[in-house]
């Protein structure tokens, strides 16, 4: 093993699922399926090797591996596992070049685990970094896009053996056309996308996010084992801020252009008594306000945790009576430029507010700690 490489163990998978659910900020798909896939691959004696991005040679060839589609079809028609390999190989044969590494596209939710599965199955090392540092709902919401890397040529594959190579004029069209293909393939597909060289990757990647997710999960596990508050452990590891604590009193939802949007109101408890937080979400949590004042917004991470167990709560589980704590985690600096905010800032999601980094908002509002 090279220096800095890390061989994934079974207990890491458990921790990764917890960490990925936290970095999923309420969306990103349940990491449960991915966790079981990776567990099975490890039980079958395969090796999964994580490589730090900085040790990648400039001329290395890298392909991004993920699932795309609707979670409700994925939890019913489980992957064969081979479609993920097929998507990768289809793109490799299009380029006439074998990928030296594969990389995750998101650190949150289901897609943090899929590349590990593909890496274990195909014997290719997996890079410890991603293009989001969290979860986002659309294909072009990645730092790879931001650094001018093209999503296509990309491939999509299903379990039956069908595969499609897609070449589009830009990354927005890739999102639109690929979405249609996933429907025809049964609701979801394996994709290989954003292929690039090592020198591009090192500039565009958000590094060390997979080990970060594992570290978060481990901190939660340790805290529980020793009877400590898991919330503090998460804040420690993520350099996050506690934003609120309270009880959900009102949840409203509506569907816009295929996305599940909604709002949840949380009535303060303990030191937050008398205050009300409102979180707006679209798959993921997007904007958090306390008594009308914004305290955090995308691309910073807003995470809702069960007050008692510290478990992250996905947006579809929001309901009256839930006791929760809400934390904010600073996003990677790459998301804080004007160009980046155009594709992942609050305005892109339809909220007419200025993005202010969470550190400044917290200081100004005097909340958190």
């Amino acid at each position: 093993m090279e220096k800095g490489e890390y061989r994934l163990r079974k207990e890491d998978v458990e921790d990764l699922a917890v960490g990925a659910a936290i970095l999923g900020t309420g969306g990103g798909g349940d990491p449960y399926i991915g966790k079981l896939m990776v567990t099975q691959v490890l039980e079958k004696g395969k090796e999964i090797v994580l490589v730090p991005p900085e040790s990648v040679p400039d001329e290395a060839f890298i392909i991004t591996s993920a699932f795309m589609g609707t979670p409700v079809t994925l939890i019913e028609k489980l992957p064969s596992g081979l479609e993920a390999l097929r998507a990768l190989e289809a793109l490799e044969s299009y380029f006439g070049r074998r990928a030296d590494y594969i990389t995750p596209v998101e650190a949150g939710g289901l897609n943090s685990t899929i590349p590990l599965y593909v890496g274990g199955l195909s014997g290719r090392p997996v890079l410890d970094g991603d293009g989001m540092g969290r979860a986002f709902p659309e294909l072009q919401m990645v730092t790879f896009h931001l650094y001018g890397i093209k999503a296509t040529p990309m491939s999509l594959a299903d379990e039956k053996g069908n595969s499609v190579i897609l070449d589009t004029i830009d990354n927005f069209w890739a999102e639109k056309i690929a979405r249609v293909v996933t429907i025809r393939m049964g609701g979801w597909a394996s994709i290989a996308i954003y292929s690039m060289e090592g020198r591009q990757y090192k500039r565009a990647v958000i590094p060390r996010t997979i080990t970060k997710a594992i570290e978060i999960g481990r901190a939660v596990r340790d805290a529980k084992k020793h009877g400590r508050n898991p919330l503090d452990a998460v804040l420690d590891v993520t350099r996050g801020f506690k934003l609120f604590e309270g009880k959900m009193v009102d949840v409203s939802r509506w569907i816009v252009a295929g996305f599940a949007k909604g709002e949840v109101k949380i009535e303060g408890l303990n030191e937050y008594r008398g205050k009300t937080m409102k979180i707006s979400f679209q798959n993921e949590n997007l904007v958090a306000e306390v008594d009308g004042e914004v305290v955090a917004s995308v691309p910073d991470l807003i995470v809702v945790l069960d007050l008692e167990t510290g478990e992250p709560i996905t947006t579809e589980r929001h309901r009256y009576g839930y006791r929760v704590s809400v934390i904010g985690i600073p996003c990677d600096a790459k998301w804080r430029t004007p160009e980046a905010l155009k594709i992942v800032g609050p305005r892109y999601f339809g909220y007419d507010i200025e993005y202010v980094p969470i550190e400044e908002r917290v200081k100004k509002a005097g909340v958190g700690g």
Binding site: I33, L36, M37, T39, Q40, T70, P71, V72, T73, I75, E76, K77, L78, P79, S80, G81, L82, Y117, E159, K160, G161, I183, G186, G187, K247, V249, D250, I255, G258, A260, R317, R319, Y320, G321, Y322, R323
Partner: protein, 524 residues
Amino acid sequence: MAKYRIGIDVGSTNTDVAIVDETGKPFYTSKVATTPDVTTGILSALEKAVRESGVSSDDVVAVMYGTTHALNAIVTRRGLYRVGVIRIGLPATTSIEPMLDWPADLRKAVGESSVLVRGGFEYTGEEISGLDKEAVRKAAEEFKRRGVESVAITSVFSPVRADHELRAAEIVREVMGEVPISLSASIGSIGLLERENATILNSAIIGVMKKSISAVRSTMDRLGLEAAKLYLAQNDGTIISADMAEKYPIFTVAAAVSNSVRGAFVLTGIKDAIVVDTGGTTTNIGVLEKGFPRESSSPVVLGGVRTSFMMPDFVSIGVAGGSIVKVEDGKVSVGPESVGYELVRKGIAWGGDTITATDVALALGKMSIDDPSCRPERARDKIPRKIAEEAYRFIINAVEEGIDKIKTRPEPLPVILVGGGSAMLPRKLKGASEVIRPEGAQSANAIGAATALIGATIEKTYSYEQVDRSKALEDAKSEAKKRAVESGADPASVEIAFVEEISMPYLPGNVVKVRVKAVGRAKI
């Protein structure tokens, strides 16, 4: 001739029994201690009721009981059938094999025989591939050779189309003869792993359920109740015939919670309310919605296995009649440890040395107990007033928090108190529009079982672009009605209790989950 029904409900502390007349009015109630084997407790409750009530055995038309046999078997891994598992879905699904994340001891107890075969459907109802009948036949032959006692069949998207499961069952039947076969489409909803797990567990507990039923049946025969019909209480507050319960034992694992909720409805006539069921060790807080227990929407973990099937939505708190009061560093807390059925020996008011929740309520004069050996003044003298008050506040806070957690809206609702330990609770609670403790509250669970209707809930998935909505609803309704009749309902009395449509986001074709519940009177 009077027509009496006997209801029995097994709780963690007591086994309750009630006899109701043909109008549903309770005629006799009592309790015996739940025994470790469960069966002995049920049989002595039944015997006691027949003996003490003085009803003629000829006048008893039905016995309905809710038991923890199946749940205990899953938790203790004892008495489980060896299950042959068939999953239909290749080439999909191989990345997560059946029972992958089950606890090793449970996986071993059900025998680790699983086979994946080609077949299954897309969400649209198109085939992923044709059913590999030869592979199913081979699997059945292998199961037969291995001495498998029960078969569980799950196909991808069977809630949309169950054809492959049905065809596979026929082939298994040809090879294995009279083996019990469970099909996932009749057990769970979308979510392959959870539905498959529930189907395998259902197959595994069939033997335990058969044993339980045959023990009750033979005691009934001995007591002269040969003519009475036997029913089991289900998770949704309805009952099914013993024959159907042997096919679907998984639907009976959480019957106790639902019996109490349904009993609260029977005793008060209130259709929408919060039901607080306080026993000896735990208080279960559930919801009455249109006269039935509200169903839970999240996955249920049973014996360490993630499953999904119809379960009542409830919050369980470790504060009840026998809960032990502790004082640590000047802080008073109550439960979750409990003296259980030993309250009448260990409780302060009975001359024992353990301060319990009931003692506290007695000391503060919040309740009285009709038992000559219970002397409230002992509790009043021995428990410092301040500790009693703090402990009582702790109990109320826990119950009020539980009530708030189970609610889905902030508006206050009627709260109905039931269960053996419910007398200690006050008649005013936060979040309650009114607090009612009806007569017969201590036996609401057994009364709920004795008065229950036959019920069947089914869930199917339709694409309204391919099937006309009214046709789909008609199809689902007629299937639910058919199932209710199979479960022992009088066909003329069967009606639809509710229809629920849940659209699935992000999918084209307007895909909708339809849940239908049909209920009817038992055909006696």
